[in-house]
Symmetry: C3
Subunit: 342 residues, 3 copies
């Protein structure tokens, strides 16, 4: 894509200074942006790059006051740099995903139902009774099981597996190799120490506007549903066990795990590699630090947690500050003992 600085300024409702014909081929970070890039200054600590960059254009906050001449050919002033960058990335990214129709190398069961504008990639499988909503884009090598329902405007990347009877809402994005609806981990212990499988006959429900990262797995419920509420964003390699529920607009970083039947509130922010025991409820707006282990219900809203088992964030840091001095403390206690019991 080739686009002039003045068109960008126009698109963003920004004001232009310098060469409006400067040609932009892609966005780039200010510390990396070479010739032909459109770069941006959001964090003041990068300001010096504004005076040395070879970028074709530089996006700045409306009230930016340069302390020397800006090196970029064009300067574009906008209300909100971050939002402008997001819009630009959408502009430059929009060529990426294009409907291809239903491949004749896909397998679509005659009793599956495809709405208008659905694309099904090569070597994908749509089983009996599955229903795919309008405009949904299914990449190659995807599997949609019997009776599964996929909403409108979804994107399922290569290798995604959605099992029978699972339901996915509108505008959801599933990254590569995501598994939705694998069996929950349920086994009945037997007298002899072995285990018998407990069949998992529930399903998984994803509401609308959800994104699930690559290689994340969401197990189906034993009975009922594992539920991911609207707007939830899960990163890569996350484990969501059977009968878990994750509330609206909660965001979870990579490699976190949720054990069975746990219920996470709305608007939570959960760090990478954090873990949750099963059968607990976690209040709305909870924040969990990376690698923490939440082992008890969280009843109060808006709490920040850290540690394994997790305690209030600040308490953990205070205790950990002393933990680092423990050998010293031990020495002091021994000295005190000597003085008192000489």
């Amino acid at each position: 894509m080739q686009i002039a600085a003045k068109e960008i300024a126009n698109m963003l409702g920004g004001s232009l200074e310098g060469d409006g014909d400067a040609v932009i081929s892609k966005p780039g970070k200010i510390e990396e942006g070479g010739a032909g890039t459109l770069t941006f200054l959001a964090n003041p600590k990068y300001e010096s790059f504004a005076y040395t960059t070879e970028a074709a254009a530089l996006l700045v906050q409306k009230d930016f006051q340069p302390s020397m001449p800006v090196a970029a050919k064009a300067l574009i002033r906008v209300e909100d740099v971050y939002d402008a960058v997001r819009k630009l990335l959408e502009k430059f990214g929009e060529e990426r995903e294009s409907p291809t129709g239903v491949s004749d190398k896909a397998f679509v069961h005659p009793d599956a139902v495809l709405a208008a504008g659905v694309s099904i990639g090569v070597f994908s499988v749509i089983e009996e009774g599955a229903r795919i909503g309008a405009g949904t884009l299914i990449y190659p090598q995807v599997f949609i099981g019997k009776g599964a329902i996929i909403g409108k405007g979804c994107v399922l990347h290569p290798g995604v597996k959605v099992f029978h009877a699972c339901e996915i809402g509108d505008n959801c994005i599933l990254q590569a190799n995501v598994v939705i609806g694998s069996d929950g981990f349920g086994f009945a212990p037997q007298q002899d120490g072995s285990y018998k499988k407990i069949p998992q006959i529930g399903n998984v429900i994803l509401e609308d506007n959800i994104e699930i990262g690559a290689n994340t797995t969401i197990d189906r419920a034993t009975m009922g549903s594992t539920v991911i509420r609207q707007g939830v964003k899960l990163d890569n390699l996350i484990m969501v066990a059977h009968n878990v529920e994750i509330g609206d607009h909660t965001v979870v970083a990579a490699q976190a795990g949720f054990a069975g039947s746990t219920k996470i509130g709305r608007y939570c922010r959960i760090g990478g590699q954090a873990g949750f025991v099963g059968h607990i409820s976690v209040a709305d707006h909870t924040q969990v630090q990376a690698q923490s282990g939440v082992a008890a219900p969280v009843k109060e809203k808006g709490v920040a947690l850290y540690g394994s088992p997790a305690i209030p964030y600040k308490d953990y840091l205070r205790s950990y500050a002393v933990f680092k001095k423990l050998p010293d403390l031990l020495r002091k206690i021994r000295e005190l003992e000597k003085k008192i019991n000489p």
Copy 2:
């Protein structure tokens, strides 16, 4: 599936009260179970739901004494509610997996050997010399490498990859995208700081009655075999490195990891996100708390561990209780010092 309460009572060897013709379409949890569900009361803390549920039928322990009239249309009394539920889930789940025969859209090498009743899904690949046992159900998009052996009555879900020369016993279930027999992580450090790959020419052996969770990976041995003994259950996203051995009927929760050549005993229970260093032996019946890091051999049977590095479970909790008070302790020590060295 539609089934009358009296048929369920009969199937479970239970005694029936109320409307034996009440029609059941699915099992459900007592706190969720709506019209047409068969629900159950196992945990006394849910008893109140028994008097308000709209469920068609309620399963209870033989000697259950309701304190007011039960709301479900039918009441079924059984010896063991948990076992009855498991049987019911089997009943309602049995329609799910049905043999489909060998798809003409699968690739089966002419020198692969398929026993009677094998199903091979669309776009699956069975390489030269592979052998698949009777009644095994291979879903779409599965890969079975050269000379791999799969036993009888197995289920391999979509996207499973089993590499050359690996051996899987009877009645094993591999959830979606499981990888069996990827190369072990073995590299010889060179003088210049780079690494040379050490070829991994061993295999993976799974004995019988094993279940492996979605996206779990089990690496092949450098030489010899990585071995998963009978009855082992591994959850999702677990890492089993080369030459590891996991003993009979050990159960491992999601995202745990086992480094190379470690040997885990029988009947162990291992929590999620736990890790084990390489080259250690862990005794039978060991219990490891989630997120623990087992860094030394475990010689005594039946020990419970927690922490990173892991120590006895109760010791960890006792120390952690004091850890939470460390800032307080530090203050006290300073006060004592002041008094003694004024």
Copy 3:
């Protein structure tokens, strides 16, 4: 493969004692090696096996002095046992990977470019504009997106997904179900608590001689590139977020995770399940213990770290040694208090 002991000795430049015609069918560990195996003695603690093994041949260090007669039929003395074993494994492993040409059951876009000697497995997909280098071996069920570039001599195992515009150098090995170039986890928080996706229009670059373990995911950059430098080895189930850079010859064990924009130095060694926060730089030769959480920049080269948050390795162990005694310490402090404030 069947090969005589004298041929092995010759191949390794070693000196032979005993029966040079002893037939070897495979290498094996000294504690397991049965008839027909070639085994080796590297670690002195296994020496006793040298006198009882049924192996056909035993590899030993040049200056090995047996304390009684060696049981193997042939003894081969070499300069460096470890290096000799690696060469042997290469010899016995070389039959494994053989070019198969381009399958007529693969989908190769007419505008993709395949160099000489490329193999493309059954049900693999090579999209428009992708370029595959000479001799590269692509197994079944692989996906290569639009315009992606794969170098020479690579091996991509079944289920690998490489997204559009990503670039992979020469001699790289991607184990099963690896995902290269899934979208980075970037969302702009909105006033109402929901999130808008930030398009991820960058790519992933892998330089040469890299190995990536099964089910590992490497996200594409928001802008610019996520970069894995030459010689890096990543184990299974690792998460590399957008815009991360990992330096030359760094080695990372399974299930570790790197948050966005973090920059890891060269020659680092990172343990399993370790985590790194985003936007930090980590110096060359850093060593990180398994399960550690690196939460701050590491400026000094060659440091070893442990803990969450990570501190110097020895400090962590010293503090943890006292942590284990904390209940004891608490008791002592209380006793001191009683004596001083009776």
